[in-house]
Amino acid sequence: MDVIGYHHEDAGQPPSLSPAYASTVARSPRQPLIQIPHTLTEVTGPAGVWDKLMGPSRADLTRQQKGEPLGQRIVVSGRVLDEAGRPVPNTVIEIWQCNAAGRYIHKKDQWDAPLDPNFTGAGLVVTDAAGAYEYTTIRPGAYPWGNHFNAWRPAHIHLSLLGPAFATRLVTQLYFPDDPLIEIDPIANAVPLPYRQRMVARFDIAKTKPNWALGYAFDIVLRGRDATPFEGA
């Protein structure tokens, strides 16, 4: 059975071994990846059943606890597209992040910055028929990490997408414009320039909600599909 496959990685994807991000050294394969044609396994995925798996939408991360979290309230919106610019409708985006002080609620995060009892930092949105999404949160802080002396992660939001198929899975991070830490961050810079900048959101006064929240634009581009089926042997 011949199926229409998805494009492979483009030049903007980082290598698994990115030594400046020290943990990749022992956590990247040394053997080359084996090329395979896409089969039904790779071009299918659990589309449209997100609520059965991950639960209902949670698009406002500022209203998950009793009170309002501290920090700068922001709205992030955009579209999920394929490489041809076509919208990817009804696809899930999972979101997680630290609080305004740069602290995750995760028990392994032992950095001495305050926890915010009113901020958990996990959300979920599903794109509409036009591939559009929007969520409300607070701007996350920067935080130190142990990669090298005086290492600090730039402020970022973790984003996870499944897209229509096993082949379109993407986990990425959203960064903020004018953050000086991006330039010296080994994780962001595992992605070569200019492609790294694809992960930097744009401040948008038109998306900003008067008297409420600053607006940022961020589109997410998943792998596109080939034009013709793979010709099997």
């Binding site: 059975m1 011949d2 199926v3 483009d10 903007g12 994807q13 980082p14 290598p15 698994s16 022992a26 956590r27 990247s28 394969p29 040394r30 053997q31 084996i34 090329q35 395979i36 044609p37 896409h38 089969t39 039904l40 396994t41 790779e42 071009v43 299918t44 995925g45 659990p46 449209g48 991950m54 490489e83 999972e94 979101i95 997680w96 995760h106 028990k107 392994k108 958990t120 996990a122 096993f166 899975r169 993407l170 986990v171 990425t172 414009p177 994780i187 962001a188 992605v191 200019p194 492609y195 790294r196 900048q197 694809r198 992960m199 930097v200 961020f218 589109d219 792998r223 099997g232 042997a233």
Partner: protein
């Protein structure tokens, strides 16, 4: 400076690691139990009281097929277990049909109680565990047939992008004729074969080094 909205930069959004703190964002309770109602797959021990906002798996009816448990360890290049990895699986149902709009073969039945997608966090000891059913055979390229297999994605701290592999079964029907296994050098095929043990199958994932698992360019 160019950014996410620059037309001249339009293209695939780059992959980034899930980092070490994904446990309250990704693995839901029961994510690793594709047939039952347990909370397998989550790590509530890493999330403070009052902050567990993730889903509980919705109730499922009986699932057709042979129920199996798949377990193993995820190991790094120093042979050390990886306690902050996340595995995702995707598989066909017992009849060999994917619960996906892109598998339109109406002659092969869907199972209303089986989706075929799961997630498991590794434990502090680097162990993972899924409960699922043994998938049926599915079509491969041309007129070929794939042996029963489960597609696996490996995510985690230190993994800047997902690694993709496949699990085949030691006693699987058709391994010898599988068109994907045929692309793997014979000396490395054993890294893709789960070994039968009491109550299920054992499948370690070795990210690097001797017995390094075969990863695919998907």
């Amino acid at each position: 400076m160019s950014d996410n909205q620059s037309p001249d930069l339009f293209g695939q959004t780059p992959s980034q690691t899930v980092g070490p703190f994904f446990h309250y964002g990704l693995p839901w309770k029961g994510g690793a139990d594709l047939v039952g109602q347990s909370d397998m797959g989550a790590r509530p021990d890493l999330i403070p009281e009052g902050h567990y906002v993730l889903n509980l798996a919705s109730p499922k009816g009986p699932v057709a097929g042979e129920v199996i448990e798949i377990s193993g360890r995820v190991l790094d290049g120093d042979g050390q277990p990886i306690p902050d990895a996340l595995l995702e699986i995707w598989q066909a149902n017992a009849a060999g049909r994917y619960a996906s709009l892109d598998d339109a073969r109406e002659e092969v039945p869907l199972d209303p109680n089986f989706i075929g997608f799961g997630r498991a966090s590794t434990s502090a000891e680097g162990e993972y565990r899924f409960r699922t059913i043994k998938p049926g055979r599915t079509p491969g390229p041309g007129n070929s047939w794939q042996a029963p297999h489960i597609a696996i994605g490996v995510l985690g701290r230190g993994l800047i992008k997902r690694l993709c592999t496949r699990l085949y079964f030691e006693d699987g029907d058709g391994n010898r004729d599988d068109p994907i296994l045929a692309l793997v050098p014979e000396s490395r095929r054993n890294t893709l074969i789960a070994q039968k043990i009491d109550g299920g199958y054992r499948f370690d994932i070795v990210i690097q080094g001797e017995q390094e698992t075969v990863f695919f360019d998907v």
